[in-house]
Symmetry: C2
Subunit: 501 residues, 2 copies
């Protein structure tokens, strides 16, 4: 067998693996959007079976032979930026990791996270975490076991961080969180003091049917292709790519807070454009995917905040939207709405938090999930620990578990170590925007004129279409001309705070 033949068979197997994985992805989406409640147990069995079949594929010793063959004969001749070089490196890593985790654990994780997600949904409906906590306990134990398998000498939480954001460790993350807390907390306090009480304007009811219509229009305006995608409602917003030509966003709407649906849509469209613009010719190979979740979150946070909370965006949107919303909203001025959507506050809710407080919400979650993973906190203690952390970091007390530890689905789904990617995403988004503004001084004029193309094209060319050709750090450095840093985010938040004088 030639080295090329070995590599081609590796790629073929990677595509089959992605294909089978995409069946599991669709089943997840269906669970979220379509499945009747009675279908939960069968769904868990389906997911357990698919997880086991995926694990059999991923650990096939034939992969080891093919990798060795391709690495020896093809590897030395490859330039670092060659797609084959990325694929070989990542496929090797995936193979080694898959072999470290036993099939039974993989199967249990799939089954338990499916059932715990259902348990989370009903506990959330009841606004009471008690029925969910035993499930969380099972999830945490399984994730710990998984981390132990993958550890290779590392700390458990570092192992989980690395799954979502390759290379991220607690040693890198902690100073970021400290810096944000130290620098941004005083800014938030000052902004709250100067901004005065929140207007009731944004609470004016807007028909959900109309909101859904507006969400679709915004998604289309941003370039989301509905011939190759969908937008649905779900309890927890998300974006998935079933495959090329099939990218699905879910979002949520509140009649008494139309900005929730609007910002959630912007966020998910940010993810959705990434998935739609990823290089289709590499679908199924590692180089065809995003290099990390942080760079993915950056797309969502960028559209949500740097576009969605910008003055120029509201100057374009509001005159078109307000007559359709009617009531007192029809009479409101664009600049007032823009100020209202940036109003700083110490609240209990992450998704609707303003930018100044957002990373404090992440801070709470990161410390709690690290404590869960390290065994410093038991699942049963979570509701109390959550309340205490919110009192300490944000100065507020959630009225119930739905507004407290049940507000996010991540842990129920086994996504421990995921939350830091939001802060990483915020940092990347700020750095990308700084560069875009330097290169495109007329950006705000374009946005105010209703043209998002300079922004969307920048993201497509510098990020989306490159897949995993570069690591997240390299990608950001190439896109912005500077190494990834938290400084642009801190500077951006300082600007936000100054909005209030």
């Amino acid at each position: 067998m030639t080295a090329d033949a070995a590599y081609l068979e590796l790629l073929h197997r990677a595509r089959e693996h992605t294909l089978l994985g995409s069946c599991a992805t669709l089943l997840e989406w269906d669970e979220d959007v379509c499945m009747p409640e009675g279908g939960g147990e069968h769904r868990a069995e389906q997911q357990a079976l698919l997880a086991r079949l995926l694990h059999v594929q991923a650990t096939d010793p034939r992969l080891g032979d093919l990798l060795a063959e391709a690495e020896t004969k093809l590897g030395p001749g490859l330039a670092p930026g060659d797609p084959a070089s990325v694929n070989l490196r990542e496929l090797r890593e995936e193979y080694e990791k898959a072999r470290l985790v036993p099939a039974s654990l993989v199967e249990d994780l799939a089954r338990v996270t499916t059932l715990s997600y259902e348990a989370w949904r009903s506990a959330r409906d009841e606004r009471d975490a008690r029925t969910f906590l035993p499930w969380l306990d099972r999830v945490v134990r399984l994730k710990r076991a998984e981390a132990d398998c993958l550890a290779r000498g590392r700390d458990r939480y570092d192992v989980l961080l690395d799954e979502w954001e390759p290379g991220l460790t607690w040693a890198v993350l902690e100073p970021m969180l400290i810096r944000l807390r130290a620098d941004v907390s005083p800014l938030l306090d000052r902004a709250i003091e100067r901004s005065g009480p929140m207007t009731e304007l944004l609470r004016h009811p807007v028909d959900v049917g109309l909101q859904v219509k507006v969400a679709r229009e915004l998604a289309e305006w941003l370039g989301f292709d509905f011939a190759s995608g969908r937008l649905d409602q779900a309890v927890h917003p998300s974006t998935i790519r079933v495959g090329p030509g099939d990218v699905r966003l879910t979002t949520r709407f509140r009649a008494d807070a139309f900005t929730v649906g609007l910002f959630t849509t912007h966020h998910e469209v940010g993810h959705g454009l990434y998935e739609q613009y990823l290089p289709g010719e590499h679908f199924g190979a590692p180089v065809g995917e995003a290099p990390s979740l942080g760079i993915h979150e950056a797309q969502g946070r960028l559209l949500e905040n740097h576009l969605g909370r910008s003055r120029s965006f509201w100057r374009h949107l509001w005159p078109r939207l307000s007559p359709r919303f009617g009531g007192p909203l029809a009479a409101a001025r664009a600049d007032d709405v823009w100020r209202a959507v940036n109003h700083p506050r110490r609240g209990t809710d992450r998704v609707t938090a303003d930018e100044l407080s957002y990373d404090l919400h992440i801070n709470v979650r990161v410390h709690l999930e690290r404590a869960l993973v390290r065994g410093d906190l038991a699942a049963v203690e979570l509701p109390l620990a959550w309340t205490e952390a919110y009192r300490r970091l944000l100065g507020v007390t959630p009225p119930d578990d739905r507004a407290g530890c049940l507000q996010d689905s991540h842990w129920a789904e086994g996504m421990l170590g995921f939350f830091p990617t939001y802060t990483v995403g915020n940092a990347i988004a700020a750095q990308l925007m700084r560069r875009l503004r330097e290169e495109t001084p007329a950006l705000d004029d374009a946005l105010a004129a209703g043209d998002p193309q300079p922004l969307v094209a920048f993201l497509r060319d510098r990020v989306h279409r490159l897949g995993s050709l570069f690591s997240t750090g390299e990608l950001v450095a190439r896109a912005t001309g500077a190494p990834l840093s938290i400084e642009p985010l801190v500077a951006h938040l300082r600007d936000k705070a100054e909005l209030w004088g």
Copy 2:
């Protein structure tokens, strides 16, 4: 290994096979109801992969060993009606059949039928079969190849018949079709002559949103459990069971023909109740499934016609429905609507056909699909052959391909040999109803009083909950005290014809 252990492992493997198959089923439902058009090619690849994995499971030589072990040691001690006896017989048959078909053919069939279904949908939108016919040609060729693999000395079309209706052959089917044509055609002519022109009443527009609401109410009234199921709209109505607790119906509505949605819903609820009442403890084993498609169709045809076109049903429903429909419908009398929904006609459409003409529509399809399978008709000749057959058998000419050879999705989905199960289903439904009426003289009083329980309970106890414990013939004989016959159907159609004097 003990015989019990071999049998238990067989059952375990059968359940895993069903579980994996249920992933493919969900993907099919999603293609129909949710998938964006851009997702078709990826979906075809997903289905091809699942089909290959299913085939690997189904042909695992270990199954052969386990079957031999269980047959030798367990088989002799089993009574004929023992679930284990049914399972062993059916698993043996499935194993032998699976080994006759090469994996590549199985994979091609899954891929091509997914794509051809998409092609059928767009051709249908265009009302022009030309873009679909090359796909039909590919499907027919693959189905021929499959039939040749499975033939074991039989005729190709008999092989395909047997896939849907075990034991059915052309030798059995042809006399049924001839009998129906000979006996019912004159009845239809006389009924058309005596019934006079069709009232325009049923064409009065009814808001589709309201129709959907009514459809859900009817499904609930008939006992369909929405906590374990769904009802959606799709181009072609169908019923699938993803698994226990997850049964999904699709139906379709026309603003200018509210009876289409109503009868389609009844039909699919008939299938849906069967799927919801099948013995859950046997899920995944052959004995937990329906023994044939004919007995399944009987459930749909029975609720659609014997309930949905009965005078007592309309006497209950119409006074409740008509005020909500409003307009001239509010003033119409129940008996007039009942007569209108039974109005005999020679039309071009199968799904909306009255009972007297229905089997003539089947007759057209059966002869055409048999000719396709036997190679007597090329796919490209279908539109013309369809038109000629309709002119000959029904005396009408479809205005375009959508009203002609594109009206059904079956062939696009690879379901060649399926259509006869509608006529078998009609026969079984009539025989079941004759028995139910004998046993329950007050049936019409109950229905007129809005109580479908005597009917639903009869079906549940005599058919649904028995799974495949008996063959279709045995099941019908046990349920009705007489061997399966076409006479009750002919007698029922004679009664229908006499409605017009």
